[in-house]
Structures are given as C-alpha cells and as structure tokens.
Amino acid sequence: MKKLFVVLLMGALLVSAQGLVFAEAVGVTEPITITFWHARGSTVDAEWLANSINKFNATNTLGITVEGVYQGYFSDVQAKTLASIAAGDPPTIAEISCTAIPVLATQDLLVDLTPYVERDGFDMDNIVEAVSDYIYYDGQIITMPYTRGTAIMYYNKDMYAEVGLDRAPTTLEELNHYAKLIYENSDGAVKGIGYTIEANYYQHYLVQSLNGMGILDADGSGASCLEDGSLLQFLTDWFEWTEEGWCAVPALSSASSVVQENFNNKSLAAFVSSSNRATTISNNAKANGINLGMAFTVGYGGYSAPIGGGSLGIINRGNTDQEIAAAWEFMKFLMTDEQVAGNHVATGVLPATYSSIETDIIQECWAENEGYKLSYEQLDFASEIRFSPYVSEWSSIVKSAMSQLIQGRNITPEEVVQNLKDEAAALF
C-alpha cells in the first residue's frame, strides 16, 4: 500500500511542474512560523524535542516559531512529505531517514544549504565523518545529521556470564557459540539472540562482513552478493540458527518491540537495536532488574556495524525564501554543541559534531555510562549503506524475501537467492 502511495505521488510530482526555488542565502526579516515534521514519538525523544523547540522559540531573536508535528515512523514522514509536496503544502523542514534522502535528493526536493553554510561560516569539518555520507549530493549540501544512530548489541550480562562469557562477544562466531549454550542450558526457555528483519541495516552489515559490500554494491547500482555466494551463505546460516532454536524468529508484527519484551521478561538474552533507543532500553532494563550490557555489534570474523537514522532537510518546494531561511536558523540551532550533546545524552542518538564531544555534558555522561560512548566509538568501523536511488526499493525487496524464508519458512535459501536475482535484473 505504502509503496503504491509513493509511486502514485511520484507521478503526481512529475506532472505538477512547479518552478524550482533556488536557494539563496537570505535573512529572516519578520516573525515567521515554520513546521517541522519528525518521527520522534517515544517518550524520551518527544520530551527532548519539545524541549529543543521551546528553547529555540523562546531564545531566537528573529521571531521564528517552529511547530513540531509528529508524523509517525520514518516511512510515514517520507510518505507524508512526498504527498504534501505533490499537494503543494509541504512542511518547511523534515526529519528524513537515510533511505528517503536519495529519493528526495534525486528529484531536487531538498534545498541546497551551501549558500547558508558559506554565509554563516558553518564549519562542515566539525561534522563527524562517519555520519557525513548523506549530507552531500551532486556537489550540494542537502542535509544535516540529526538523529543518526548505529546498531548496538544489547545483552543480558548475567546470562552470558553464566555460560562462560564475562565480556562482550567480539565475533559473530563467538556470539553464536554462547547464544546456543544459553538456549541449551535453559532447556529452550531462553533464546540466545534475536534480530528483526531490517535488510538495509543489521542484515546488510552481516552480509558486508562476508563480502565487504553488503546487499548493495559500493557504486549503489548492483547486488553482487547474489553472485558471490555471500547472501546465500548468510541466509542459509540464519535459517539454520532459527531452525536450531537459539536464534529467535522475528515476530510478524511489532518485531522490534517483541524482542525487547522478551529481553525484559528474560526469555531472550541479547538483541540488536539502534543506539537511538539506548535511554529507553536502559530504563526498561533497570525497571525489570536486568544487568544490561551494551556492546559493539559483530559480524563474521569481527566487528561490523551499520549507521542509519535521520537527518534534517529543508523542502525545496512550496516554501518561501523566508521560510527556508528560518528553517536554516533552526537547523543551525540544532547543530549547536549544547543541542547535539543534549540530544545524545537524553536519547542515545549519535553526537554528530566533534566539538560537541568535548562538552561537559557528553564527557560526564560517558564517564558514567560506557554504553553511550561505545556507540560513538563504534563509528570507527561502522558504515552507511551506499547513497543510491535503489536503496529504498532494493532493501524492501530483500526484506520481503528474507521474511519469506525466516518467517514464512516455506522456501529454501537457494530459491530466495534465485528470486532475488530475477528481481535485481528487473530493478538495476
């Protein structure tokens, strides 16, 4: 449904020949209200964002008022933003996922921020390099990192210690070994590890640890994992793990919530989730008396981690220069050290600037909670999926293929790979 929706809107976009607004750095001359669409719905996220907006509205001297509108998950924000652009009534600024940025950027729907960056001397080198891939497109600056996150392994320290692992696992093989032990020692009551199906996220980096590229090639226009046997190997393994029982099969609905429920009721010993949820997950673990460990995520033969999450983009249609200028002011505010650091500490999202890391806010937090620090340190080897217009569609195709295998269980890994080859031939 959602896909159809997006396709229809693309059509509408093409038809509605609206004049392009060329961004030119202007100043905000009179009081103005702009809307900000976002996906920050969880308690800690919503609280922090409301805090940010209130502070900006109260302190900016230009008379800018930001109205934050929660639009659901990233996919909802993407769909609604596209719809609103087609309808001619878009928000001024939106929180856009890595998957959606290419979709918007390739149609020139995002304002080029370069004039503003240059005018205000905004230091682009201050942005943490690992999260900078989705900032640039075609020589333009189109986004700012905002709620970027990496995947973290959250594990029950006591359960792993009980079977003999008193530190975080360093490779997938090690993790699997102990996960299996936990399962066997509990007579099948506790599963060792659980994943959800996020083809462009966890599964992508697991494949990447095999072939160095993941489900999408480095140039973003092919999937050699289908040919080099890496995807087949991963799928065969994953199927096997779930068949043996110690790796949990993802639930058909709200899978990411279900793994957390099982972790909290102690029927699951470890799971992988975004660092953006670190605060919520820590709070829940504490409430349920769980000795939570946070660790680097692992792949075949070592560490391997994805980077995802959301960035801020200003919509290039239906907004006046004044609105765009106001949005830039808000963006700049969110990129201040205090905001970046506070965002990280309050919710767990990655700190996106080097200078913010030097602040007391972050240093004090890291001193107390090594898990937050760890998410940042993981950026040394974590990577983003390639910027490609195919990301969105290809990952959704791979996701449904994985779902057929792991959740449907009525197909062999070989058949899945064959089907994907057909799909790939049609797509790329």
Partner: protein
C-alpha cells in the same frame, strides 16, 4: 416408561447445557479483550510483558494513566474528536435524510443513475480516494483545520442507503394521508418518515459515531498539525515499537478512547435493542 421420561429430560438438559456453554463461550470471546485492556492498563510495564501473562496485575498502579496525561495534551485531542464526530453526525443527518427521502419517494430524471452513484461511492474504499481528496484539501488550504475530517463524510452512502430502505417500508398511504392533511415535504420527512425510520436512523448514527470516533487512517493522512488531530492519533502516538511498546500506557489510552463509546452503548442499550424491534402498525 420411567426411562423414556428421564431420557427426554436428559436430552433437554443437554441441549440447554450446550446452549449455555455456547453463550458463555461467546461472552468470553467478546468480553476478554476488554478485560485484558482494563487489566493491562493497571499493570507496570514489567508486569505487562511477564511470561506467562497474569490475569491480574501483580502490582496495581495508575502510572500508565498518569503517563498518558503527561505525555499527551489530551484535552486538545478529545476536543477535536468530539467536534469532528458531532459535526459529522449532524451534517450526515441533514444531508442523508432528505436524500434518502427523495430516493425512496420521488421519481425524477436520473434517479437510478444517482442512486447507483451513491451505491458506487459506498463500495469505493477510502484507500482509493484519499490521495485525490488529500490534494484537494491541500489546495483548499484546509489541512490545518478540522474540515478535511468532516466535509468528506458529510454524506454517508451507507446512511442514505439504510434510511432509504427504511423509508420505503413506510406505507404510501400514510404519506398520502399526510399530504391530504396539508403537510409539506419537510414536515412529512420529520414527522412521518423519521419516527418510522427511528431504528435505522439510530443504527446510522451509531455507526457514524463509532466510525468517526475511531477513525484513524483518514485523520492521519488529512492532518498536518497537532492542533487538528483526533484522539486516535494521539493514542497511536503512545506506541513506539522501536523503543518497546509500553502496553499499559497504550491500554490506558485505549480505555480513555473507548470509554465514551461504551458509555453511549450502555446508556442507550435499551433504546437500541427496542428500536431494532420496531415494526410499523397496520
């Protein structure tokens, strides 16, 4: 003789036993979800995810309700839900009753086609029309108002159809008698037709009420600002699956959501049931 008698008695006992079991089963089937919602809303998060689940909360807490109120500006959403629901019901009645009357009692050019159109509208799912309507609403600059949630539902094909069926049951004689009594068409509609179609009107109103009150998809698409969003979207907002769904909070929100519906059904249940049994008098 004796055994034959007891055999009959036993058979009757068995039949009533089966019937009782079946009724009990249906009751549980319908009531258990409600029970589960109520119980869960008084649990802690830990209590809600414990395995195996418990039928009663280990620790009874109102924390979930507190969270709902602190996390949401509930009055804003409640106000929107009430305004939208009341407006939809009023407009639907104002439009649907005359339309149904015309369709049931007048023969005019194009009646068949128009009725077919209404029926077609009845069959087209909103999922097909919403993009066009969205663009229309956007062009009208209505997206920051409650209008997109009200205006498209001003006419209910289902309501017109049901009322038309009810109006057709009214004997022609009675309408002719009223015409001979010098009653105008509006008077015939309000004094003769509507009382006779009471049960259908009530059904239509109830369906509109529940439909409008529970509407989720449409307001999700048609609202771009918090100030115009209804309760359903607010309750959904309590659910963030990536952060782990906090079932007690969701259920507390749902309790607040269904309470008005339950109250109306409880208060009106007598009328609803009796109106279902309404028959005209010969």
């Amino acid at each position: 003789m004796h055994s034959k008698y007891t055999g009959f008695k036993l058979r009757r006992l068995a039949v009533s036993g089966i019937s009782f079991t079946f009724k009990l089963f249906m009751l549980v089937l319908f009531l258990f979800p409600f029970y589960w919602m109520i119980v869960t809303s008084f649990k802690t998060y830990g209590g809600s995810i414990v395995f195996p689940p418990t039928l009663l909360p280990h620790t009874f807490t109102l924390e979930a309700f507190e969270q709902v109120f602190t996390r949401l500006n509930l009055w804003n959403y409640l106000k929107n839900s009430v305004i939208v629901t009341v407006a939809v019901i009023v407009i639907q009645t104002l439009i649907g009753v005359p339309a149904a009357y015309a369709f049931s009692r007048y023969s005019f050019k194009g009646r068949g086609i128009m009725l077919a159109l209404v029926m077609a509208a009845f069959m087209v799912p909103t999922q097909i029309t919403f993009i066009t309507v969205y663009i229309m609403m956007s062009k009208l600059r209505w997206l920051n108002t409650l209008l997109p949630q009200i205006v498209p539902f001003g006419a209910s094909a289902y309501g017109i159809f049901l009322l038309r069926q009810a109006f057709m049951q009214v004997p022609t004689d009675i309408i002719e008698a009223a015409r001979l009594d010098n009653a105008g068409e509006i008077k015939i509609m309000t004094r003769i037709m509507l009382p006779a179609a009471k049960s259908s009107l009530m059904t239509v109103t109830l369906f509109s009420f529940v439909g409008s009150w529970n509407s989720y998809f449409w307001p999700l698409v048609m609202s771009n600002a918090e100030k115009v969003r209804p309760l359903t979207l607010a309750i959904e907002r309590l659910k963030d699956q990536d952060a782990g769904i906090n079932w007690p909070v969701i259920m507390a929100g749902n309790m607040i959501m269904v309470l008005p519906v339950l109250l109306i059904f409880l208060l009106m249940s007598n009328k609803i049931i009796s109106s279902m049994g309404y028959r005209g008098i010969k």
